[in-house]
Amino acid sequence: MSNIKQNASEEAEFAKPLYTPIKRRSFFMYAGATAGATALLLSGCDDDNDNVVPNGTVSLGSGDVGVLNYAYALEQLEAAFYAQVKATPAADFSAVEKDYFSQVAAHEAIHRDFFKAAINRDAPGKIIPTLGAADLNFTSIDFTKRASVLATAKTFEDLGVAAYNGAGKYLKTPAYLVIAGQIVSVEARHAAYVRDLISNGSFADDSIIDPATGLDKAMEPVDVIAAAQPFIKVKLDASNVGK
């Protein structure tokens, strides 16, 4: 919300939904940290963040909607990966592994679809474009080999956990923080499980959990996007996420 341009039309835009008479039912939406407060916050964060900037880079945006778009981008990546795994399962998967990927594919598709619905509802016009098959780059993954697929799943899940852990502090809306918390623990469950599939007992080993503090990793949005960028052809800009 740093470079708000103040002009009459934007001011009118801010106030528009609030000028309509408040009926008793909708009035309660304005009380407390509920959807009402969310709408107020988002209408306040009306930064100049048209998603696609001239050089083809996609800006994830700023403020809370930036964090939501950031999560949406990562969930799209995960969902597309698992959809591919489910469509072309490696021949050397065990039955347990095939089942794991089928279930996790549904979880990640739900996260993706949920963020899409939530952003379109709470911040109309602010959502980043869909990352379709043509926008992703999975050439480094050998989907025919169990080891390659499991290693990629581990990378994505651990990265997802670190991403949510590092992004929570950028959310201003309590309801969104709770949602992020509800999702990150599921990502952590996935991460633990896929790690155990690779090597039983590595669910929370010293390579991922600091043995001195017992803390999982937390990463800043720009670092997470840098790590994910090799799998995404379109360039993502996370530099304003949460700001």
Partner: protein, 266 residues
């Protein structure tokens, strides 16, 4: 933004609207200084917080109270795993390795939270013990209790995130512990032949597991932020998929209730 008009409209449905704010004078004083800075954009945030204060719940617990609550749960877990290790029923190899790793993390969490509370000039709780009479003799039931403690821990940390929003560093640390508890929960669950995540079908179980998954928001909940995950997303998803995709919170009161972790403290 015309705050006067909003308040006027609120007064039509709620005659006490002005009485709900700190005081009539404070409302306009706060707005005045905000407006003077020309920070129009801050007004919605200001109004949202004003309404939260006026209509929201009573003030939440302090940061020290939240940290001591977390420390209480970590001490309970640490003592449980110490008792489990001492009881000698955990099979050598992978099971013993997993329990040792989890105990190591709980001990680290206890140290970290204790130091943090002391650094903040608070008084860290100590000597929280797992109730001996509730400690199971057999390994299988010990794992059941471990699952209850870990899945409770996940729900408990999640439930306090909102109370740490005023301190970014502490919020992040809490999240970094939270995901470790989720990793523990996932592993313990798979040691018991359960899925690593919590499907809707696992939300009505006998004690001590049953109450872990119930509460004001149950683990089989499929509606998130007013979106019904099974029906509202264009693609239909099953209740098990919807419930497993989102873990749910427990409040402090729910966790400390005698039917849950509160009943396991000596």
């Amino acid at each position: 933004m015309n705050i006067l008009r909003i308040i006027e409209q609120l007064s039509e449905v709620d005659a006490d609207v002005l009485g709900r704010f700190d005081s009539r004078r404070a409302v306009f004083k706060g707005l005045g200084s905000t407006a003077k800075k020309g920070a129009l954009a801050a007004a919605p945030v200001f109004v949202a917080s004003l309404f939260s204060k006026a209509y929201g719940q009573a003030a939440g617990p302090s940061i020290i109270e939240v940290l001591n609550y977390a420390l209480t749960l970590e001490l309970l877990e640490e003592d449980f795993y110490k008792k489990m290790t001492a009881a000698g029923k955990v099979p050598a190899g992978a099971p013993a390795g997993a329990i040792a790793l989890i105990l190591k993390h709980e001990t680290a969490h206890v140290a970290l939270l204790t130091k943090t509370i002391s650094d903040l000039k608070g008084t860290p709780v100590k000597d929280v013990k797992f109730k001996q009479s509730a400690f199971p003799a057999d390994y299988e039931t010990q794992l059941v209790v471990a699952q209850a403690l870990e899945d409770t821990g996940v729900r408990a940390y999640k439930g306090q995130a909102g109370n740490l929003m005023s301190n970014s560093a502490l919020l992040q640390v809490a999240l970094q512990i939270h995901s470790v508890e989720a990793r523990h929960a996932a592993h313990i669950r798979t040691m018991r032949g359960q899925t690593a995540w919590i499907p809707a079908s696992a939300s009505s179980l006998p004690a001590p597991l049953g109450p872990v998954y119930t509460g004001n928001i149950r683990e089989d909940n499929v509606v998130q932020s007013k979106v019904n995950i099974t029906t509202d997303l264009g693609t239909p998803y099953t209740a098990n998929e919807a419930a497993a995709s989102f873990d749910e919170i427990l409040t402090m009161a729910e966790v400390l209730d005698a039917s849950r972790a509160g009943g396991l403290v000596a």
